[in-house]
Structures are given as structure tokens and as C-alpha cells.
């Protein structure tokens, strides 16, 4: 049975009603995941910030999270994240599909074994899955979105957002660059849909807060769930993507 990982962010802590909790032990720490079978696939749901949103973005145990999915033999990861919208075309509550990122974080984002190609950081096949899934459920999905990933946990200053806008960044987040890098190192397919839970600081007068994030997340929870379920249905085994190549080369060179 094909195994799919789902990583959920702020406001998205559950996928199915009936899921079995499971703890995975990794050399970086324990990870809680929830298992279910859907559409003939084994689905592992991983709430990024923990079950009760207790780990802020810089303190999420990214290496343990991604390695746990690897150890569960997950090959493809579909992820959802809350972000701030820098590009004024992106409305609060709307969904975007990431195509590129610029990583300004300084946290550990490698298992330290080798250098991977990340020219195209997201799996093109999973991106296509999200595009199709959005069409199926009639939810607009903005494509070709570039994310700037910042350290957090604080939100950005107005000057920082203006600078990112000048660079052509569309959304600002705190987690996806790290997950994408680690997934690529382990040869796993990874793709993200982001939900704009606020306009980034200085773009409007509404200031960001976890409360606002959660409110928008709550409002769109059904839509995001439906999208994820549709994506799980559409996601098949890997065909032509090269997400696993660097990893397999590295494994071969060690044997």
C-alpha cells in the first residue's frame, strides 16, 4: 500500500475523525503521528507544531519530523502551512501553491550527509496533484508562488516586508524551506499549499497574531481538509520526478 505523509500547520491539526495515534522514535527525538487508511492508501498525518500547537516555528523538531515519515516508509508528503501574504493579489483566506522559496532562516536544515540539488524545491508531480485537486473541489489555487522563509517566532517588521516585496516574494512563512530541504535530503517528494491567514505586516493595518492565524485557519479548515482528501485520492506512485535521485546516489555511494 502506498504511504503518504500529510503535514498540517497552524489551524489544521486533524485530518480524519478516526485516526490512530502512533509514536515514532528517531535519533532526533520522538514524533507523534496519526495513521488512517484512505482511498487504498496509508496516510500518516503529522501536526507540525505538535498536537496542541506548543512548538513555535524555530523550535519545531524538523529533522525528527521528516525522518519519522521516512522511517514509516512514506515516499510523498503533502503539506499545508499558514503564511502572511506579501503580494497584494493574494487575499486573506486564499490558497497558494509554492513553486520556489528563498530561505533566510539559520536553523539546522540538514542531516549533514551530502549536498542536494534543490533548484526546484517542490515535487512537480505533487504540485500537479494539488492543482487538479483544487479544480475538482472548485477552490481557486494560486500557482507559481514564491515563499520567503524567516526564522521567527516574531512576525516581520514593515521594512522587512517591503524589502521582501521588492525581491518579488509572494508570501512569508517560517517552516516550509526547512521541511523541503530535509525531505529532499531523504529523497521524499514534498509539496505545499499555503493559506494566507493575514496580510503581511505593513501591507495592511491589521497586525498579525496567532489568534488571527487560528481564526482564518478555522474558517478555512473544511476547504483545506477537502483539498487534502482530494489530493490523497489523486496522488499516485512516483512517475518521472527526480526528487529521490540525489538521495539514491548518496545511498549507492555508501554501499
Amino acid at each position: 500500500m502506498m504511504k503518504i505523509g500529510i503535514i498540517g500547520g497552524t489551524g489544521f491539526y486533524q485530518l480524519f475523525d478516526q485516526m490512530v495515534e502512533k509514536t515514532v522514535h528517531t535519533e532526533y527525538g520522538d514524533v507523534t503521528v496519526f495513521r488512517a487508511v484512505s482511498e487504498g492508501k496509508e496516510v500518516y498525518f503529522l501536526p507540525r507544531h505538535g498536537k496542541h500547537h506548543d512548538a513555535l516555528a524555530p523550535f519545531v523538531n524538523y529533522r525528527a519530523n521528516i525522518l519519522a515519515l521516512k522511517e514509516l516508509e512514506v515516499t510523498r508528503i503533502l503539506s499545508v502551512s499558514a503564511v502572511g501574504a506579501i503580494n497584494p493579489e493574494i487575499e486573506v483566506g486564499s490558497l497558494s501553491l509554492l513553486d520556489q522559496f528563498v530561505d533566510l532562516t539559520t536553523r539546522v536544515k540538514s542531516y549533514g550527509k551530502y549536498s542536494v540539488d534543490i533548484t526546484e524545491p517542490f515535487c512537480p508531480e505533487l504540485q500537479e496533484v494539488f492543482v487538479q485537486a483544487a479544480k475538482e473541489i472548485n477552490e481557486p489555487l494560486r500557482e507559481k508562488t514564491t515563499l520567503v522563509c524567516v526564522e521567527g517566532p516574531r512576525y516581520e517588521t514593515k521594512a522587512e516586508i517591503q524589502l521582501f516585496a521588492k525581491w518579488g516574494m509572494d508570501v512569508v512563512g517560517m517552516t516550509n524551506a526547512t521541511e523541503a530541504s530535509l525531505a529532499r535530503e531523504l529523497g521524499m517528494c514534498y509539496s505545499v499549499v499555503t493559506m494566507a491567514t493575514n496580510m503581511a505586516p505593513g501591507i495592511t493595518d491589521h497586525k498579525p497574531s496567532l489568534k488571527a492565524h487560528k481564526e482564518v485557519g478555522e474558517r478555512k479548515r473544511e476547504t483545506v481538509s477537502t483539498l487534502m482528501l482530494e489530493a490523497i485520492k489523486l496522488a499516485g506512485e512516483r512517475k518521472n520526478c527526480s526528487c529521490q535521485e540525489a538521495y539514491e546516489r548518496a545511498v549507492l555511494s555508501r554501499t
Binding site: 513555535l56 524555530p58 516574531r154 516581520e156 517588521t157 521594512a159 524589502l163
Partner: protein, 256 residues
Amino acid sequence: MKIGLIGGTGLYDLFHTLTEQCIETDYGQVTLLKGEFEDKEVYFLPRHGTEHGVLAPFVNYKANMMALKKAGIEQVIAVSAVGSINPDIPIGGLSMPDQIVDFSRRRDNTYGQFSADMTYPFCPDLQKAVSTAATENSQTLYENTTLICVDGPIYETSSELQLFSSWGMDVVGMTNSTEAALARELGICYSAVTLSTDLATGFAPIPPDLGTHKRVAAINKDKVKALMVKTLALLSEQKSCQCAKSYNEYMILINN
């Protein structure tokens, strides 16, 4: 009323007598120097230690800001030496940053409890007091400047400065974004005044060094002091700012 003043040792003699106060924090011990100014208690915090022994990346920012919080201080003004990227700000020029871009990368700049709003990183009430003080003193103060904060201790390359200039940065410093972020997490009002001690153009005839910084700071000491004295006199406990909002919301959240 208690006010925190972070700066170099040149500000010491604002006060006739200073008493030392040692404050223990989870991050280390901090010595504050307490002086009286009119009806206000002013707590002076020498950022780099009393001998300027601690370089910007090694300052214990979390201990410093927590010590001010523990001393019951709600308003902090910081004086910093910076380099001028904007050619309109001359050496010896005083400016008041309005915005920050943080490019420091290897610092612990969070207490890790919640995500604080930093849209406007400085306290508008404190900024108003500094601005009014400059006007009343007939001092030139460059306002609405954007500071870019780098790790240091190394100074910037010519390319880095040209890049920062193309981004619209006015001054480059090594301390304020860290202090501002920590202050905001503690719900403390924070504002900064910067003294340009070199021209960070990448083409300046004299390259930056600590000696130059200290020399320019010494020459301009009276100017900075005059601005601080007037600002302290103007400060009041009446606040209309939102600096403590993120902190208060978090406190309510954890107490319920």
C-alpha cells in the same frame, strides 16, 4: 517612574551618583546602574560592559532585557553607534530609526514563548518624546530612518553596503533589532537613537574601527547627553502605544 537607558559608558556622568544593582536572570547576572533624574529612576545598562569588552554578537541580550523587565522598567531608550549608509546622515549625526531589517543570523533573539507583532518595532510614544526633545534643543535629528542590523563583529564589505543601500537602508548597526525584538516579547516600550560614527558607504576615506567609533562618540558625547536629558524630562507614564499588546495577550492566554 522607571526608565531604562542602554548605551555606551559615555552616558555615565548624566548622574551625580549611581548605585549598582545586580539582577539575576535565567540567562545570567546583569549589573544595572541606578540614578535619579528629577522624579524619575533611571537604570543605566552599559550594553558592551563597562570597559567595552563585549562585542555586539556576544552581548547577553536576553539577560539584559530580562534584567530591565525584572527591575520593573516599562520604557527603554537605547543609544547605539552605527554606520551611515544614507549619505545625508553625516558622521556625528543623530538619527532615530523608525524601522528595522534584521540580518543578524546567529543570535538568540527570542524568549520562545509566542510570536510577537513587530510591524512597528519602536514605541511611538518614546519616539515622540525623543523627537520633541530634539526640536526643543534645536538639535538635528534624522527621523524615519531604517536600520539594518548585521551580526558583526566584522564590519561590512563594500558590496554588502551597496546592496543595503539599494534596499533603501539608512544606517547599519549590530544591536538594535535584537534588543527591539526581545523588548517587544517582554511588552517593554523601546526606542533607539543612533549616532553615526562612520560613513558606511564602502568608499569612505577612513575605514571603520572601534577606535574611530569611540573617538566620534567622545566628540559627540555632549550632544547625545543633551538629547537624553531633555527626553527623560519629557517622558511620562501616560502611554497610548500598543507595545505590550502581544505580551499581554500571551499572559492572559497562559493564565487562563
